[in-house]
């Protein structure tokens, strides 16, 4: 489902010059796997996730996600890939204020031609257990509920791959467990999940754990 070969990414960091955050990463994730990527803060976990999610195209190496080779793609092609092929969940939920849950979940439909976006959005919300909070504004939801709305948004186009960057980082222990349980259920339904984390709780739920250090996976 995911195939990464010789992936490198460096940042221009003014005083320190070029900093190589990823240095020849190689990774293969079969379909249906729930992979946890761990590592110290600043080890490049988010950077890796952004490359996999098509948010960062300034890398070298080969990256193939859900059948799409990402190297050298145009902005339009990458945008389409983000829109349809993957879902991304962040530590902060990044819901749009002023839009209801359904409207937030349907946000990807603004950038795609597609029938009945709100009934799809309702299905996605039901899938994450929020069928009763369709018209709530983000401000009227708890942290755990907001993250589940964000997950529903990531699932809007029914992607094969869900990418998560510290998805439980802003949640208390109990709600974190609920979200992790949701991930396990979604994984059980066949969704491939890559979650970047430094939390044991999430790591323990994964079916495979790799760790990132000095720009490489081990």
């Amino acid at each position: 489902m995911i195939r990464v070969e010789g992936l490198s990414r460096s940042y221009d960091d003014g005083a320190r010059g070029k900093v190589r955050v990823l240095d020849g990463v190689t990774l293969e994730v079969p379909a249906g796997q729930f992979l946890a990527v761990t590592g110290r803060s600043g080890s490049g976990k988010s950077t890796l996730l952004h490359v996999l999610g098509g948010l960062d195209s300034e890398f070298s190496g080969k990256v193939e996600v859900a059948g799409t080779a990402l190297q050298g793609l145009s902005d339009a092609a990458l945008s389409r890939f983000r829109n349809e092929a993957v879902g991304i969940v962040f530590q902060s939920f990044h819901l749009v204020p002023g839009l209801s849950s359904v409207e937030n979940v349907a946000l990807p439909s603004a950038f795609a031609a597609l029938e009945a976006p709100s009934s799809r959005a309702k299905e996605a919300l039901e899938r994450v257990g929020l069928g009763d909070k369709l018209t709530r504004a983000p401000e009227q939801l708890s942290g755990g509920e907001r993250q589940r709305v964000a997950i529903a948004r990531a699932l809007f186009h029914q992607p094969k791959v869900l990418l998560c960057d510290e998805p439980t980082g802003n949640l208390d222990a109990q709600t974190a467990d609920e979200v992790i349980a949701l991930f396990k259920r979604l994984n059980g339904e066949g969704l491939t999940i890559v979650a970047v984390t430094h939390e044991d709780r999430l790591r323990n739920a994964a079916s495979r754990v790799v760790s990132l250090a000095d720009g490489r996976l081990s």
Partner: protein
């Protein structure tokens, strides 16, 4: 990006910061209002100058004799010269004019439109080819009726205006209109003058009857048929062979410069006093209007800067939101369109409001002027002229100012790096 979605997101963003949106639109509205107002005023005043104060017919050339008689037929306006003028390329028609060289007065004693009047005025008369004023003749025929018969007279529209606004009020005389005047008859005594010694010819008395009022009528006097002028000159042993002027009707205004050159080559002069005054007045109006329009354009420019500033701030505070749109599939162009779309709404609102404000102000001023400002000559019903294109220009410029202001913020928004703004903590 789907346009329905674009509209929805634009509306969402605008509704979240109503005050900011209002102030951005307001700036544009002020600039556009002032622009539309001053352009309409300039056009309106120019129209009054053109149509009422100096109603110059752009295809008419007034030829007058040279001050010096040059050689054989140089400088003289006799029938031969008129024939040559008529034959010039671009000349459609030549209308001869001959001033009556006999002094005359009108001594009026009787009922003057409901008021008893005793008044003596010096009369200056010019004869013209009847076709020259034919269109404005409303009573009988504008031809010489013969010795002792009433003389058909055409008055000057501008003279009525000046009479009504300045002469009559000061003397509590009644207001006149062209239709009232037609049919009015008054005595004319030839070979009489309050001012100058007469030529000593026989004193005769006839009547004049107003048969029409025309822009082509002589401003300081009466216009009569050419044959009448000839007859009066002849019977008083004055020159009845030479014309005092010829009005040349050109095929089109573009023929006028060529005609002017040919006329001068014939040793004749062109009386372009009126045309020059009209041009000078027109230029003065145009310069003032341009200055005010420029000032208004500057206000629009300021409004554009204001929008640029406001949108830059909005883009900064909405960084994460724009980033998440990128993350769920927005292209750079979608983000650009989103920010520009907001500006378009602001510009459209500002442009429409500004144009409406200007038109309302114009209507208000016209109403006040009608009620409060005393009459003066050539006072128009409206000081404004609003051609179809002016509101379109107002709204268009409002949009343009908004787009201009939004361009850089929109570009910056489209280049937001979602990876940078989305990772980490914070709402």
């Amino acid at each position: 990006m789907k346009s329905a979605a674009l509209r929805k997101l634009v509306r969402l963003h605008l509704s979240r910061d109503r005050r900011g949106a209002f102030s951005s639109s307001f700036g544009i509205a002020i600039g556009i209002a002032s622009l539309v107002f001053f352009v309409a005023l300039g056009l309106g005043v120019a129209r009054v100058v053109r149509e009422k104060i100096f109603p110059v017919d752009a295809s008419l050339v007034e030829v007058i004799p040279s001050q010096l008689a040059l050689g054989l037929f140089g400088g003289q306006l006799d029938q031969q010269a008129v024939d040559r003028l008529s034959a010039l390329p671009g000349v459609k028609k030549a209308y001869r004019k001959m001033s009556v060289k006999v002094p005359a007065v009108s001594y009026y004693d009787g009922d003057f439109f409901g008021r008893r009047v005793r008044m003596g005025v010096e009369i200056v008369a010019v004869g013209v080819d009847p076709e020259f004023v034919k269109a404005d003749v409303k009573l009988g025929e504008f031809v010489d009726a013969g010795e002792g018969q009433p003389i058909p007279v055409v008055g000057a529209s501008r003279l009525i205006e000046i009479y009504n606004k300045t002469f009559a009020p000061a003397r509590s005389l009644p207001q006149l209109s062209a239709t009232m005047l037609v049919g009015f008859s008054f005595p004319i005594d030839w070979n009489r003058s309050f001012i100058a010694a007469t030529a000593g010819g026989p004193f005769t008395s006839t009547r004049g009857q107003v048969v029409g009022v025309s822009d082509r009528g002589m401003l300081a006097g009466i216009t009569i048929p050419l044959e009448t002028a000839k007859r009066l000159n002849k019977s008083n042993n004055a020159d009845a062979e030479h014309f005092s002027g010829v009005a040349l009707q050109a095929d089109s205004p573009s023929d006028v410069p060529g005609i002017v050159v040919a006329v001068k080559e014939m040793g004749l002069r062109v009386d372009d006093q009126e045309r020059r005054m009209a041009e000078n007045a027109g230029a003065a109006v145009a310069i003032t209007t341009s200055a005010m329009a420029l000032l208004s354009a500057l206000i629009c420019l300021l409004a554009a800067f204001n929008i640029a500033h406001a949108l830059s701030a909005a883009v900064r505070t909405r960084e994460k939101e724009l980033g998440i749109m990128r993350a769920v599939g927005a292209k750079r162009g979608d983000i650009f369109a989103l920010v520009l779309g907001e500006a378009l709404v602001l510009g459209l609102a500002g442009g429409v409001a500004g144009t409406a404000l200007a038109l309302a102000a114009a209507a208000g001023i016209d109403m006040l002027a009608a009620r409060m400002v005393p009459d003066f000559p050539f006072k128009p019903e409206t000081f404004f002229l609003v051609p179809m294109w002016l509101p379109a220009l107002g709204v268009g410029l409002g949009l343009l100012a908004a787009i201009g202001g939004a361009w850089l913020p929109a570009r910056r928004a489209s280049r937001i790096d979602p990876a940078r703004v989305l990772a980490g903590q914070g709402t």
